[in-house]
């Protein structure tokens, strides 16, 4: 099993989620995070001082999937999640040793 951790644009999340659902992925965990990278921050003004906020809102999407799904799922995310502009984000892939369903105790691919 692998865990895919995708840092992505909030604006693209809905679309990615739908495509993953169509592909057959149902389970996922979503976190609101902020990130910085190559993308420029936002310039704001407050009481006459201009400043830059360089942590931008991102969505972290975590998917635990079986090894054979990895390729297709990354494809879908690249396809649906990119705008072509800096700030589209990353997919990080981890090895995962075990997954357990709390309700039933099922393990491995059955748990996800």
């Amino acid at each position: 099993m692998k865990k895919l951790e995708c840092i992505m644009r909030p604006a693209k999340f809905e679309q990615v989620k739908e495509a993953l659902g169509n592909y057959g992925i149902k389970g996922m965990t979503v976190t609101h995070v902020t990130g910085c990278g190559l993308q420029q921050g936002k310039t704001e003004v407050y009481r006459g001082s201009t400043f830059t906020i360089n942590l931008l809102p991102k969505i972290k999407l975590e998917l635990v999937i079986s090894d054979q799904q990895v390729e297709q799922v990354t494809e879908i995310i690249k396809e649906e999640g990119s705008t072509g502009e800096i700030g589209d984000g990353k997919i990080f892939i981890y090895h995962i040793e075990e997954a357990i369903r709390i309700r039933t105790g099922e393990k491995g691919d059955h748990a996800i």
Partner: protein, 459 residues
Amino acid sequence: MYIKTFKGEDIMLKKILFYSLTSIFVLALPTFAAESPTPLTNALALDTVWTLIAAFLVFFMHAGFTMVEIGFTRAKNAVNIIMKNIVTVAVGAVTFFIVGFAFMFGDTLGGIIGLNHFLLAGADKMDFGIPTMAFWIFQAVFAATAATIVSGAVAERIKFGAYFLLTILITAFIYPVVGHWIWGGGWLGDLGFIDFAGSTVVHSTGGWSALVIAVLLGARVGKYSPDGKVMPIPGHSMPLGALGVLILWFGWFGFNAGSTVAGTDMAIASIAVITLLGGAAGVLSTMAYTWLRHGKPDPSLVLNGALAGLVSITAGAASIGSVGALILGAAGGIIMVAAVEIFDKKIRIDDPVGAISVHGICGAFGTIGVGLFAVNGGLFYGGGVELLLIQLLGVVVVFLFVSISATAAALIVKSLVGLRVSEAEELGGLDINEHGSEAYVDLEERIGTTVLSMGEITK
């Protein structure tokens, strides 16, 4: 509620009243204005203007109650709080129009209850010193206030439908009966019981109703741990709670000073001063007391302290002096802190916003305080114990009547629709389970672009 009559001018005044009121309700078009003004019509107009503005301020107190209750409860129940409060205003107004006013101010049946003027039929001929409609609206917003006090104490677990029915019963019957006894020509008022602006009529009635319904409901899930510890359940927004308290205090000036129903009654000035000082004393005593006890001034109690001080001077607002207001307000603040602790930890009645302590206990205290501090007749001003005993009697009788009738009302409602939501609904929040709604949908996603995962429209 003090009702003025221009003695010695009755005939002329009544003529004017009759003339102007007839024109209002029959023609519903102002013709009075075409007459030249006289001192009498001007005084009448000023009294009307004063009473109406006071009524608007009391109406605005509902925004205060709503904010206080939202602030002191959890976010998952905020929409439910909103619904309860706005429906209380609406139900209060309509019910008081249909029956409440009749029970309260109709001709008395043995000092117990009024029994005519339902739907305000013939009410325009009644003489309150101002047009009946002005008097009515002031009374109607009071009735809703008494009902809304319950809302806070039963928050986060009562069924919306049950609350709705209870509000009807309180504004239609329980409050008007107490009101009749004291302000509507009933037996307590006749005895000389003094409750100028409603420490008992409004606050205790609301507070005791809250008490018995909170007991019947039981505590919120998680309030008392299995091993018996008290688990505080902090509210989710102190800023909204504070805003609510300041709105309530603002409205209270109308509540108290408006209870003259006469702007020509110069007592309004000292009543307003007493309302300022009573609240201030409540703030300071609560601050000092919690500072001493916990090493830090406790904000949630200081906010309640303002209200406790205000409730404590409401009965005596026209009878006590400035110093009396300071003493009663300060004592009210401390009594409230003690009461909150006793209800929370000893008697174990779960009251999320402290409504029972603030309105029930301080309402009773303030009423009794009149017997002590009334410049005219109070024990400490050499007036003997007579007034004090009458005040005590009123407090006890109202407690008995309200607690019994509210229990009956709650049991009826329970048998009809049930009182409390299921544990799962309570855990998930009333907003989603009772209203299919959430208070703060977009907050976390606030810089996101589209609302996340709104999913499919299913209907």
